[in-house]
Amino acid sequence: MIKTIKNNFLKLNNYIRNFQEDMKSPTKKMVFRNRVVNLISNILKYVLVIGLCFVILYPLILQLAIAFRSPTDVNNPSILWIPGEFSLKNFEVAMIALNYFKSLKNTLILSLGVTALQLISTSLAGYSFARLKFRGSQVLFGLALFTIVVPQTVISLPLLRSLTEMKLVGKPITLFMMAGLGMGIKSGIFIYMFRQFYRGIPVELEEAANIDGANPFTVFYRIMLPNAKGAIITVALLAFVWQWNDYYFTTLFVTRSNLDYMTLTTQQVSVLYGLQQALTDAGVWGLMGQDITKNPLFSSMILNTSGILVMMPLLVLYFFVQKMFVQGIERSGIVG
């Protein structure tokens, strides 16, 4: 017993002596220092990253935890995170209140259409500003940047009025038109992104294609677009998400005067007003008991669940596209 301890002690002593000798040579000292610095910075990095990830995921987890709580447990203070009774009742009620499948269909139609049209118009304009310079194109690009800076409220009121005169309000075609003509949600930013991206593609590619007899459109279609995959994915995802989450434009131009085109986001804002009506309509009223709808906590629970329902398709989509999206950003090289 004592022998082994003594042995170990000797080993340790040896080790320390070796270490001290090592430290005398500058290269070994450097290597050791680097290793320690690396270790510490790695630990710091992981702590930071995990902490920030937690901050991002925290509301999501909280929302999920609340959503699965059974309505009868609303006032139960002992339940904080894990629901005492696992129930999908909240989801049922929220789906009814949101008019889920119809709104989902509307949202999908609007978002997909707007995304496609935005992609076409902004990529064309961006390419023109990047490569097909003509007299005055610099001025036009300046105007395109100017559209980014002006807030929507400045133009929305006269625009609404002139659109009402043209009898275009209340139809999704208004949004499609705006997207197709490069004036959709934050189109200016997309034009800018595309321009920066196309500027980064080497001119030699274009010249080579030209020598082989391609006209500018063929160059754009056959050479630039396939190379611009990263930028296209980034812009498409952003356009889709921004249209999905848009409340301002969609209410103003479509849903305020035409309730048939309620999207998920616009429904979600008005979910509370329709809650009681929805409950009676669906015949769930009896199941819940009357007093529960008067409980503000119950309402906020439903709101929270409807929030999850609104975001769920987007999150699923993001989960699938995420890898391409991240790679797209890294390759897109959008530099100012």
Binding site: L80, S128, R135, V154, L314, I334
Partner: protein
């Protein structure tokens, strides 16, 4: 595809042959003149002019050849009358590539330009016009206009209030918000971008998590939560931060002063907002970081630079153009969530401003826009000299 292949009538063919022959004669005369000139100048050893003339000669020669070809084709009856599109495409194909590019440039911009005129420029000018008018809704629909000059703007700063606060107060508070948020968001997103750009275990997953705020719409959820039931839900959210409370009490027990704790807690509270606001900025900075060529870092390493030095001397200058872009984006992004928006929905009398006082509405939005422009310009002026362009 239907292609019209009409044979030309005999008389037309003859006429055009005569025309082309005349044209050919004229061209050949010109050609002869040019040839004479060319010989003359080259004998005088004025090579520059002679070369220029020779070029023109070459062009004329090919033109004459075209005409000759046309004549032979006409004589052999091989001619097909082209429809309009074919003619245009033929003209287009004969253009030099540079001109083709310009034409396509205009074509590609046309849809955007149409949209710009229809959905941007004209409403913008209308807003400016409205802001100079006192407007009241007419009973039959539409508005009565009374030109007032700048009195809307004066009223805006002297009379209008929103739940007790004057416009000036609301404006200053929202501007202070922007001014505080701007540097925090930009520094934070540069920092996170640098962090995410290194390869460590699980960096794919971390990146995916960090871009969730881009997808996940916090603003709408915040809007719903700030309604009647918002406070109760907010209370529920707060229970989760018991962790931070216990942490702060722990710090108290150790004996760290209250000021530091307050600062830490406010930073923790704010970090959530800042992360949610800086999704796009992080994306932009990661893209910028990726485009920094590796050889810069390699040469810095050879020169014996530490990582800290490399960050300040290589990374920051290389991403500095992006800082400007992010500055603009952050300010633009804060338009929507600004307090001033509440002015636009409900005014002091409790009626909606958009329908009853469009003049005032326009004045507010233009003032807000101008102030934001000023912040952007200020940022530009401050950063312009620091920005480094690597070309």
């Amino acid at each position: 595809m239907m292609k019209e292949k009409k044979m030309m009538s005999q008389s037309m063919v003859e006429q055009s042959i005569i025309k082309l022959n005349k044209k050919k004669l004229v061209l050949e005369k010109k050609f002869d003149v040019l040839t004479d000139d060319y010989i003359k100048y080259s004998q005088k050893e004025k090579y520059r002019t002679s070369v220029r003339i020779n070029k023109r000669r070459g062009r004329l020669k090919s033109k004459i050849q075209h005409v000759k070809n046309d004549i032979t084709r006409l004589e052999n009856n091989e001619v097909i009358q082209l429809n309009v599109w074919q003619k245009i495409s033929q003209i287009f194909k004969r253009m030099p590539y540079n001109k083709q590019k310009q034409i396509y440039g205009v074509l590609f911009v046309v849809p955007w330009f149409l949209g710009f005129i229809l959905f941007f420029a004209s409403p913008m000018f209308t807003t400016i016009w409205w802001s100079l008018n006192s407007m009241a809704p007419k009973p039959g629909g539409g508005f009565t206009y009374i030109y007032q000059g700048l009195s809307n703007y004066v009223d805006l700063f002297t009379k209008e209030t929103l739940s007790g606060a004057t416009v000036l107060e609301v404006l200053t508070s929202s501007i202070i918000d922007i001014v505080i948020d701007l540097p925090t968001i930009i520094i934070f997103s540069v920092f996170i971008a640098v962090l995410l750009n290194t390869k460590f275990k699980g960096h794919q997953l971390v990146k995916a998590i960090f871009f969730i705020p881009v997808v996940y719409n916090m603003t709408v959820i915040n809007n719903t939560l700030s309604g009647t039931f918002g406070q109760l839900f907010g209370a529920e959210l707060d229970t989760g931060f018991q962790l931070s409370q216990s942490f702060s009490s722990f710090l108290m027990q150790i004996g760290i002063g209250g000021g530091l704790i307050e600062f830490l807690m406010s930073a923790v509270d704010r970090i959530f907002l800042i992360i949610n606001k800086s999704g796009i900025q992080i994306i932009m900075f990661i893209a910028a970081l990726q485009s920094i060529p590796d050889h810069l870092y390699e040469s810095a390493k050879v020169e014996g630079a530490t990582r800290y030095e490399m960050f300040w001397k290589v990374t920051i200058p290389m991403v500095s153009p992006m800082i400007l872009t992010c500055l603009v984006y952050t300010i633009v992004d804060s338009f929507g969530s600004s307090d001033i928006m509440h002015f636009l929905t409900v005014n002091s009398q409790g009626t909606t401003m958009a329908t009853n006082q469009p003049g005032m509405y326009s004045a507010i939005s233009i003032v807000y826009f101008l102030i934001n422009m000023m912040i952007i310009l200020l940022g530009f002026m401050l950063l312009r000299k620091k920005v480094f362009y690597y070309d």
